[in-house]
Symmetry: C2
Subunit: 221 residues, 2 copies
């Protein structure tokens, strides 16, 4: 378990907690370790989850098969990332997705009830952990809501403008850089890359914005 303390120290969940304290908390949280071979399913649709998980080593895909058997990859989990935080509500249905190891992987399991129930005196960092958990989920929530606000725009143009508008606000400048290349931006907004490139060119021709690589500038009309 000790070998994971350094990794955990850098995760959002254990942020602000020292390695020694993490070690004692791991015990308090009844932490389990499981390894998965490449291709192995960590969870299947329909299972109940009672833990919060952090991927220590490897890579996982959150994916879904529809009624007619079509596969759809929803998300890729990388080391240090937490997952399962949306599926531990009691009496509220089962996992809707499959979780598959696409590399040999190691997953840490934390008992959710031990996280949320403060043990009377043992863990001075328990309150910190709860705050971290809350902040992490809250932050994810915020990202999801924003993403939906872009995706719910009907046209590629509107999706681009709402995203770029928000980035300008967030970075507090009408000139800013984005953390995506074109393909990643297209995937993020759920549009076709070439159609998006085309639309960006139109917007530039119309004088609404300018860009070089990942640097964008919004113009007044």
């Amino acid at each position: 378990m000790k070998k994971y303390a350094a990794l955990l120290k850098r995760t959002k969940l254990f942020s602000g907690v020292g390695e020694n304290d993490i070690l004692s908390m791991l015990h308090c949280l009844n932490t389990q370790v499981r390894e998965y071979n490449k291709g192995e399913y960590a969870f299947r649709q329909g299972e109940y989850i009672r833990s919060l998980m952090i991927l220590a080593v490897g890579r996982l895909h959150i994916q879904k098969e529809d009624y007619w058997g079509n596969l759809n990859i929803l998300n890729e989990i990388r080391p240090g990332e937490m997952f399962g935080e949306a599926y531990i509500i009691p009496n509220s249905g089962t996992l809707m997705n499959d979780v598959v190891a696409i590399e040999e992987s190691v997953v840490l399991f934390f008992d959710i009830d031990r996280i949320l129930t403060v043990c009377s005196s043992a863990c001075p960092f328990h309150t910190q952990l709860i705050k971290n958990l809350f902040y992490t989920i809250s932050d994810k929530n915020k990202s999801l809501v924003q993403k939906i606000s872009y995706m719910s725009q009907r046209s590629t143009r509107e999706k681009l403008l709402s995203y770029l508008s928000d980035e300008a606000k967030r970075q507090n400048s009408n000139s800013f850089s984005i953390p995506f290349n074109r393909q990643q931006l297209a995937d993020f907004l759920s549009v076709d890359r070439s159609a998006m490139s085309n639309e960006l060119s139109k917007l530039r021709n119309e004088g609404m914005l300018d860009f070089h690589k990942n640097e964008f500038t919004l113009r007044e009309l």
Copy 2:
């Protein structure tokens, strides 16, 4: 404050807590009450939020104006609903949206630090509150992720199939009813209603599914 206890008892956040205990907790949480006139802004883009809010009376719109001034309504808040839970992360930027009262409204403010920091002994229901908060956000998270998984499908047909597929899974039957009428479903999936109706008819003609009003049945191929 007493007059709000009955309302709060029915909210997700205070679920499982009796009215008398809610009253003592309201004090412990340093609850503030603010009223807004119709049309008044409760919050503006760029502000910092340090509280969790529950709407007691009225109706609010979460909305956004882009760089060029176009208005966009993201969400409508009704009495008993919590909001702001995604915007109270310390040091992580400001509010990206405006919150406007579209009717005369009353909002309750709860100090977020007092919720997350367990007061040594005073509140026996504090742990319950933390769990409720976690479950609420977690549940919202889950809904958001699912919605994104539908919206990220490229065509109306795929959006429909992924949503209906999930509902069949969730209700554990290939026959099920949905909580939307056609317009609401179209809004939820971010597609045009008439195009969606058209696509549903095609799917029925192709023998993939059947429907009468809000009752759907998925067919094997």
